[in-house]
Every structure is written in structure tokens, then in C-alpha cells.
């Protein structure tokens, strides 16, 4: 579609995302929006609010909680959801959490499978949700670049990348049989830079961990991992104070920070203009094996 010269690329991305979210609500029986507390979730929830203003968001937000998020994230989540009047549901794989699953003893692959993928599938089944919107972006990782806006999942929540539905124009096909479901990615076409530009333009609140401050960190495999929450140090490792910020937010044992002095959104934008590494480099879980994201997605991960 041709655009009007007055529209910036952010306007076009916004219009497309709102259209997608409205299609989900119009056509699906029990939609839910995955809320992971990060910047992408903040933007997606903001778009949902715009899509249904002056009314409220007509679906619940679902946080799949591993119990290993940062305290700032929990605080932010509860305040943000209260302020916008969202219907927040939190789901945890309690048996696994009680049994003490953790990335140090079980490895990141098993830990993720239990606390994230398994928990997500159970939460979706329990809630009877037939459409789950997530804030994944095609730019993030090469297998995500292949994913449709509407991603069909079989009865086990699995993705079959070789056999995806053709998706032309803005005609999305959300039809499915009972038990099957659709994952929807309303901000597929946004980049990290677009997200921050939009956070700036719309003044969207984000977790303060995205802004630089001095933190106690340990350098592990070339990554900065915070020690304040009891990360186990291996022999010879030593914690140091470093001015840094988080580019992505996940579980505290597996989320690294980057050295940075960006304390405001415009400073982050300026920093991103010259950054040489992708945001997912700070996530240990993406590098377990070749195609690890594709593998996780096939199994039901977002």
C-alpha cells in the first residue's frame, strides 16, 4: 500500500500492528497477549491500548514467570498493569520451581524447557486461549525472520517451519481446529531501533534496568552477569562495579548487561546507532547449539 508523505515509518508500523491486533480480537475466540515485562511488551501493550481506545484492552495479559526475573521487573509489572487497568494473569510452573530447577545444575536448555516452554503451553491450555500474541520481532534472530505474522501451532504448540500458511497482503488466516492455536506477532516488522524510537515518541514507560547505572557484575564467557541476586561464581571469578545497562530482560542468571552510559532514551538511540552487537548476544540461551532458537520454537517456545 502506498503511504501518505506525512506518515513516517513509525506511523506505518503502528498502523500495521494495530490492524493485526484488531484482527485477532475480531476473529479469535479467546485471545491473550504474552507480557514479558520488557520494552517490546511495553510497546505491544501500548499498541493494544491505542487499538481499542477509548475502551480497555479486551483480552488478558499473561506473564509466564520463571521466578528468576529481576525484582525491578516484578515491581514494574505490577505498577504498570495496575495503572493501565490491565487484566494480568501470572503463570508459573510451580512443581518445577519447587523442585529447584536452575540453569547452573540443569543447564539452560532443560531449565528453559521446564520454566518457559512447558509453562507457556500449560498456561495456554489452562486458559483455553486459541490465540497468543507475542512481542517477537523478525530482526532479532534468523529463524524469526522466516516466521509469519500468524504462526499456526499444532495441538502440541509446535511450529512446522517447512509448512507455513502463505500470508499475502494483510489477509491473515487464523482458522484452526479445537486444541490447535495461533501465535501472533503484531510487531514482527519492528527493529530494536524502531521500538526505542516509539518508546521515545509515545513516552511509553519501561523497566529502569534499561538505563545505565553502576552495578556489581561478574564477567562470564565475555558477558556481564549481575551477581546481586546470588549468581554462583565459579573459581577465579571476581565481582566488580561496572556502569552498564540491560539491552534485553530475561531471567537473572542468563541475562547479561552491556557496558553503557546511556541514561535516557535519546542516549540509548544514539548508542544503538553505533552498536556492533545484536541485542540477543546478552541472552545465554540463544547460543546453546546451531539453530537453538528454531529448535525451541518448533517445540512451542515463542
Amino acid at each position: 500500500m502506498r503511504s501518505h508523505p506525512r506518515h513516517s515509518h513509525l506511523d506505518l508500523l503502528e498502523a500495521e500492528s494495530i490492524h493485526i491486533i484488531r484482527e485477532v480480537v475480531a476473529e479469535m475466540d479467546h485471545p491473550v497477549m504474552l507480557y514479558s515485562v520488557g520494552k517490546d511488551s511495553s510497546v505491544m501493550v501500548h499498541l493494544a491500548r491505542k487499538a481499542f481506545s477509548p475502551g480497555r484492552i479486551p483480552f488478558p495479559l499473561l506473564h509466564v514467570d520463571t521466578g528468576m526475573k529481576f525484582p525491578e521487573m516484578y515491581e514494574f509489572r505490577d505498577r504498570f498493569c495496575r495503572e493501565i487497568g490491565a487484566d494480568l494473569r501470572v503463570f508459573r510452573n510451580e512443581p518445577a520451581i519447587e523442585s529447584g530447577v536452575n540453569p547452573w545444575d540443569d543447564g539452560t536448555i532443560r531449565c528453559c524447557a521446564q520454566l518457559k516452554t512447558r509453562a507457556l503451553l500449560e498456561a495456554l491450555a489452562q486458559g483455553g486461549f486459541d490465540a497468543a500474541m507475542g512481542g517477537a520481532r523478525r530482526e532479532e534472530e534468523r529463524s524469526r525472520a522466516k516466521e509469519r505474522v500468524y504462526s499456526f501451532r499444532d495441538i502440541h504448540g509446535q511450529w512446522d517451519p517447512r509448512n507455513q500458511r502463505p500470508e499475502l497482503w494483510s489477509l491473515y488466516n487464523g482458522r484452526h481446529n479445537p486444541g490447535e492455536s495461533i501465535r501472533v506477532f503484531p510487531i514482527s516488522n519492528w527493529t530494536e531501533f524502531d521500538v526505542w524510537l516509539y518508546v521515545h515518541r509515545e513516552r511509553i514507560p519501561v523497566v529502569p534496568m534499561y538505563f545505565a547505572r553502576k552495578r556489581r557484575m561478574v564477567v562470564s564467557h565475555g558477558r556481564l552477569i549481575p551477581v546481586e541476586l546470588g549468581t554462583r561464581l565459579s573459581e577465579g571469578q571476581e565481582a566488580v562495579d561496572i556502569v552498564c545497562r540491560f539491552r534485553t530482560l530475561g531471567c537473572h542468571p542468563c541475562t547479561g548487561a552491556v557496558p553503557s552510559s546511556a541514561r535516557t532514551v535519546p542516549q540509548i538511540l544514539r548508542e544503538l546507532a553505533s552498536v556492533r552487537y545484536s541485542e540477543r548476544i546478552t541472552r545465554l540461551i540463544d547460543h546453546d547449539q546451531d539453530g537453538s532458537m528454531e529448535q525451541k520454537k518448533r517445540e512451542g517456545y515463542f
Binding site: 503511504s3 506505518l12 475502551g55 525472520a145 497482503w169 552487537y277
Partner: protein, 639 residues
């Protein structure tokens, strides 16, 4: 208050598609674009290098950067569409990166459906292959009007201008058959970076710009001003009893509070009360904004309704002919499907499979049974009436997909054709103004004087202007009869007739009215060149348009005739019932009622049809022609 950012961050967006196989260097080209525009991160590069080693590739393989699926990396092929993102200071880009082999035609179509430009990649040593032609054809069929031929691997043909020029002429000829007169052709080496981001030092003979500069400068915001209002309603927002918002994304035209819109297919008129985007109330909205529209009337409107321009509404019909692209591995064995068109999903039946189109030769052949990657024309019957346009007019209201009602898969994509069902209608580009210096008029060997002698008349255009119902057509026809009876070659160009053929793509907005008049003036000028006397009968309400017509036809041949009658008289005559419709609000932009008429200030002739008879008016014109020396005196005997 947020601080204003660097204005260079305010960029627009171009979506373009690429197709080709690894052999053409497509992945290398995309890798080069991303690398040189700094859209690849070092950890992604490191992953690529590690994969190259693990898979025993000779050198670091840029394709490993773009092929996202494990199977693709292992087999060294591209299976599915991938979307990639990069930006320059001028523009944000989304690449729909599609595999080029024949068996992936459906992926090409998917990538093309949201793109406004296609990069057709060829290997300079191989030339135009079947898949290059197929990609160009699919792209244009899906509505792309900007083609770029990227002639890659120029380093392997010694940067030969001759090789490039040969491919260029071949491609321009092929694109011409698709209705794209001016494709861009760029010689490059994606591997070495020549003419991708920076100008090549090896091809000083090349006068154009590198690929990225071209992508940055292609217009993306044009044509929209003249598009017609189309807003498919997605859902209705009802947060309380005081607000009821029709939510949807604008697919054409402009929307303003106070405007009258037609709700289709119901056929009801509604008045826009407010337009919202989030908590902002807008004074105007344009495509592709996603808005919520509140209307004054209490009407039953829900998902699937279409808000349209009342003067140029969509077609409401249960039967369409369409070009269909079959996308399912299973052939079309059943007849009844679900069709999803804009925001409406209805059952439909494929009544006839009419012919198959061969994308390589651009010819039609025996239909056969549609199977994977089949393209052809079908007749479809919707089980309920649907409001739709031809795809050439609107990509959103002119497209649909077919869904298998049992398996739920998307099996086909369709593009609706004009009423006449001509496939060419999809391929013809809208006319773009040609730079005049490129055109060299051919001199005729026959002079204007010779033609005058032959026909015993001097050519002239009698330009009749006036309100609807003032008597233009009646006078024009009587004058034509009178002149032909006395042996003169004369022809009438009439508004309704021209709009049925030559100008059937035009509506009644000021811009479309101007284009209507421009074309008529050009036709009149050609007929005058042929020696004919031309009488035109058009309302032609704008002074500026009549002045433009006078320039096209030439001042010495243009005679402005003001057919004058007071509005109440015209309205009382109302020969076509149009005034009544306009007064009832069923016809927007009707001259005299809801659109202006600018009377001529100094016409060559003014005919008062409230006082004079038709014969009287005709004889005044004949007298004027005689006295002006356009007709030989003895040729028009008085009756």
C-alpha cells in the same frame, strides 16, 4: 516533555522484494546491503563464520546469514520468504527475500503482495532466465510498478558495457510488455560491493546511481491523493453507551469529520462524526492509518462492512472474475471454499476455470486443473454479495485468499479483474508523465494545408461548456448532423461516451475531472490534425482546465462556446435524473449542487438555451464558422 530527536530519524518506509537463487548471488547481494548499511551485528557475522566452517563451505558464505532455517543452511537453498530490515538515513527498508526457483512461485507472490518495488537479480554471464521473467511477471501481477534489474557479477564479464546493454534492452522490452515502461537497470558486483551502496570505480560508462541510492529515491507516497475512500470495518468498539467506533485501517482516500460515506454492501449513507487514533481526535485521516470512526446515524454496521466514497463506491456483487494463484500442494479438486476478502469471510464457489497463464511466455492456454503454482483466470461466485474493487484500483479491496473450510489451509490468492475480465488490466501501469525530452515527434509528410484542401474545411474544436442539462449534447449532435449533411467531416466527443471507454478509470474528483479534460483535449487535437471538425460536450467546470485544453489544441483551433442556462432551468430539465440524486445526497461532487462551475469570462460564443431554440443555436455556430473562414461559403446551403 520528550526532547525532539534528530529530524533525520523521521524517515519513510519502502517495502521491496528480491527473488533469485543462491547461484545468482541473491544472498550475497542482501548480505552486502545489510553489511554496508551496517544492519548486521558482529555476533551474527560470527555465527555465519562458524556455520561456514562447520558446513565445510570454502569461504565465509553470506547466504548463511540470510537462510534462517537449519534445513536451508544444510542444503544451501532458500525455502521460504524471509523478511529483513535495514535503514539508511533517508529511509527504512523491509526486504521480502524470496526463493527464485519455479517451485517457489507462491513465495514470490507472497513477498510481492506487500512490496512496492522488486529487484530482479540476474547473473551477467547467464542473462535473463525463465525465473527472472517469472519474477518480473509475478511482481507486476501483484501490483508492483517499480522494477529494478540488478545485473550482478559484472566483475566476471570484465565490467563489459556491451553485456550490460544487451541485458538492459532485453529487459526493457520484456518489462514494456508488462506495462512497466521505465525499469531501472543497474550493473553491479554484489561480492565486491560495486554499485550496491557506493558507485563502482570499474564502470565509468554507467550513468545511473548505485542500488541503495535508487531505493532511497523511488517515490512511495504518490498517487494516494486521487485514490477513493475505502475503509474495511474490522470490529466495532463499544466501551460504553456513549461511544460506538468503527475500527479499521484506511485502504484508500481521505476521511474527515462531516464527510458523507457509503456503507457497503448495505448501501446506507452515514456521516462521520469523529475520527480517533488512540486518545487523539483527528481532523483528517489518510491511508494506511488504523483509526476508529464514529458516525452520526444509528446504523447497524459491523465487521465486514466497507465505508466507501458515495460518488465512486465499490462494486457490490456476488460474481467476479479473478486471476488466481494456486498455492496448495493439493490440486483444486473441490469447488466450494471460504474466501477472505478484506475483513469479510464468505463461502464461494469456483464456477469456471477459464484459462491458464504461462508466466514465461505471457500467453494464455488451456485451463487444466489448478495445482501448485498454477496461475490463471477463474469465475467465482460468492454466496453473499461482497463490496469489492478491481485489484488494479485497490490492492486491499481487490484481493482475496481462498481457505480450505476443512483443513483450514490457505490454498490460493486472488486478484479481482475489471468487469470486462481482461487480464491485461492488471498489468497496465497508470500513466506516468514522460519526460518530454525523451520524445521526438515524427514529422508527417502530409501538411495541414493539404488536408484542408482535401476536406474543404479548416479543422477546429468547438468546446461546448456548461451545466448538466444546459443543452450541450443536444446542440452538439444537431450541429454534427447539420455539418455532415452539408458534406463536412465532423465528430462529437461526448462526456458519457468517453467515460465509458477511454476514461473509464476516472472518477469525479477535481483531479480526475482535470485528467478527463486533458485526455479529451489531446484526442480533439489529434482529430484536428487529421483535418476533422470536433465538437466536444463536457461540463468542463474549471477555467484552468479549459485553458489547458486551449493550449493542447492550439489557440487558433480552440473555440470556447458557453452553453448558458440558469441552474433552476437545468434542474427542471434534469434529463438523466442526476440533479435529483445529487439533492438527495446520493451523488457527491455534482457540478452546480456540491461542486463549483466557473463560467467562461470571454467565450467566443454564448448560447442562451433558455431563450433560443436548438436550431437557432446551431445556426449561430454555423454562421460563426463561416465568418471565421472555417467552412467554404457555398458548402453550407441554407435550408
Amino acid at each position: 516533555m520528550a526532547k525532539p530527536l534528530d529530524p533525520s530519524l523521521r524517515t519513510d518506509l519502502l517495502r521491496f522484494s528480491t527473488a533469485g537463487s543462491v547461484d545468482d548471488g541473491k544472498s550475497t547481494l542482501i548480505g552486502r546491503l545489510l553489511l554496508d548499511c551496517r544492519a548486521v551485528y558482529e555476533d551474527h557475522l560470527a555465527a555465519m563464520a562458524a556455520d561456514s566452517r562447520r558446513l565445510n563451505r570454502e569461504a565465509t558464505d553470506l547466504a548463511l546469514l540470510t537462510d534462517g532455517l537449519k534445513a536451508e543452511r544444510e542444503q544451501g537453498i532458500t525455502i521460504d520468504v524471509a523478511y529483513r530490515h535495514f535503514a539508511t538515513p533517508r529511509r527504512r527498508f523491509i526486504i521480502a527475500d524470496t526463493p527464485g526457483h519455479e517451485q517457489y512461485t507462491r513465495n514470490m507472490a507472497t513477498g510481492a503482495s506487500t512490496s512496492s518495488l522488486a529487484v530482479i537479480l540476474v547473473d551477467a554471464r547467464q542473462g535473463l532466465l525463465t525465473q527472472s521473467r517469472r519474477h518480473a511477471f509475478i511482481s507486476v501481477l501483484l501490483g508492483i510498478r517499480h522494477l529494478v534489474l540488478a545485473v550482478n557479477k559484472m566483475d566476471l564479464v570484465d565490467w563489459s558495457r556491451e553485456v550490460f546493454e544487451r541485458l538492459r534492452s532485453e529487459f526493457i522490452a520484456f518489462a514494456g510488455r508488462l506495462g512497466v515502461p521505465t525499469p531501472a537497470c543497474i550493473p553491479m558486483s554484489a561480492l565486491l560491493g560495486d554499485n550496491v551502496v557506493t558507485l563502482s570505480p570499474h564502470m565509468s560508462w554507467y550513468e545511473g546511481v548505485p542500488l541503495v541510492a535508487h531505493l532511497e529515491n523511488v517515490p512511495v507516497g504518490s498517487n494516494d491523493e486521487e485514490s477513493l475512500l475505502r475503509l474495511p470495518v474490522q470490529t466495532v468498539l463499544r466501551p460504553g453507551k456513549d461511544y460506538r467506533g468503527l475500527a479499521g485501517q484506511l485502504a484508500g482516500g481521505r476521511l474527515e469529520p462531516g464527510q458523507t460515506v457509503l456503507v457497503q454492501p448495505a448501501g446506507l449513507h452515514a456521516t462521520v462524526r469523529s475520527i480517533r487514533l488512540g486518545d487523539k481526535v483527528l481532523s483528517q485521516a489518510a491511508p494506511p492509518s488504523s483509526v476508529a470512526v464514529e458516525i452520526e446515524e444509528d446504523l447497524d454496521i459491523g465487521r465486514g462492512a466497507l465505508l466507501s466514497d458515495p460518488a465512486r463506491p465499490a462494486r457490490v456483487t456476488d460474481r467476479v472474475r479473478a486471476v488466481l494463484l494456486w498455492m496448495s500442494a493439493a490440486p483444486m479438486v473441490r469447488k466450494t471454499w471460504l474466501a477472505k476478502a478484506a475483513t469479510r469471510t464468505v463461502r464461494c464457489t469456483v464456477d469456471a476455470v477459464e484459462c491458464r497463464i504461462d508466466p514465461d511466455t505471457l500467453t494464455t492456454g488451456e485451463a487444466g486443473t489448478p495445482d501448485l503454482n498454477w496461475i490463471g483466470r477463474v469465475a467465482i461466485r460468492f454466496h453473499e454479495p461482497v463490496a469489492c474493487d478491481s485489484y488494479a484500483r485497490n490492492r486491499t479491496t481487490g484481493s482475496f485468499v481462498l481457505i480450505d473450510p476443512l483443513a483450514n489451509d490457505t490454498v490460493a490468492a486472488g486478484m479481482i479483474l475489471d468487469d470486462d475480465g481482461h487480464i491485461e488490466g492488471l498489468l497496465q501501469a497508470r500513466p506516468s508523465p514522460q519526460p518530454e525530452r525523451l520524445l521526438t515527434p515524427e514529422e508527417s509528410l502530409v501538411s495541414a494545408d493539404e488536408r484542408s484542401l482535401l476536406l474543404r474545411q479548416r479543422p477546429v474544436t468547438l468546446w461546448l461548456t456548461g451545466l448538466s442539462g444546459s443543452g450541450k449534447s443536444t446542440i452538439a449532435k444537431a450541429l454534427e448532423r447539420r455539418l455532415v449533411d452539408s458534406g463536412h467531416a465532423c465528430y462529437v466527443l461526448d462526456g458519457d461516451n468517453v467515460r465509458r471507454g477511454l476514461n473509464r478509470d476516472l472518477g469525479f474528483s477535481p483531479a480526475e475531472r482535470s485528467e478527463n479534460i486533458r485526455r479529451v483535449a489531446e484526442v480533439a487535437a489529434l482529430m484536428n490534425d487529421a483535418g476533422l471538425i470536433v465538437v466536444t460536450a463536457f461540463i468542463s467546470p474549471y477555467t484552468q482546465d479549459r485553458a489547458q485544453a486551449a493550449r493542447s489544441i492550439g489557440a487558433e483551433r480552440f473555440v470556447e462556446v458557453f452553453v448558458d442556462a440558469p441552474l433552476p432551468l437545468c434542474e427542471a430539465r434534469d434529463p438523466k435524473g442526476l440533479y435529483r440524486k445529487a439533492r438527495e445526497g446520493r451523488l457527491a461532487e455534482f457540478t452546480g449542487i456540491s461542486a463549483p462551475y466557473e463560467s467562461p469570462t470571454s467565450p467566443a460564443l454564448r448560447l442562451d438555451t433558455s431563450a433560443d431554440s436548438v436550431v437557432g443555436c446551431v445556426e449561430r455556430i454555423v454562421d460563426w464558422l463561416l465568418s471565421g473562414g472555417f467552412l467554404a461559403a457555398r458548402s453550407v446551403d441554407r435550408t
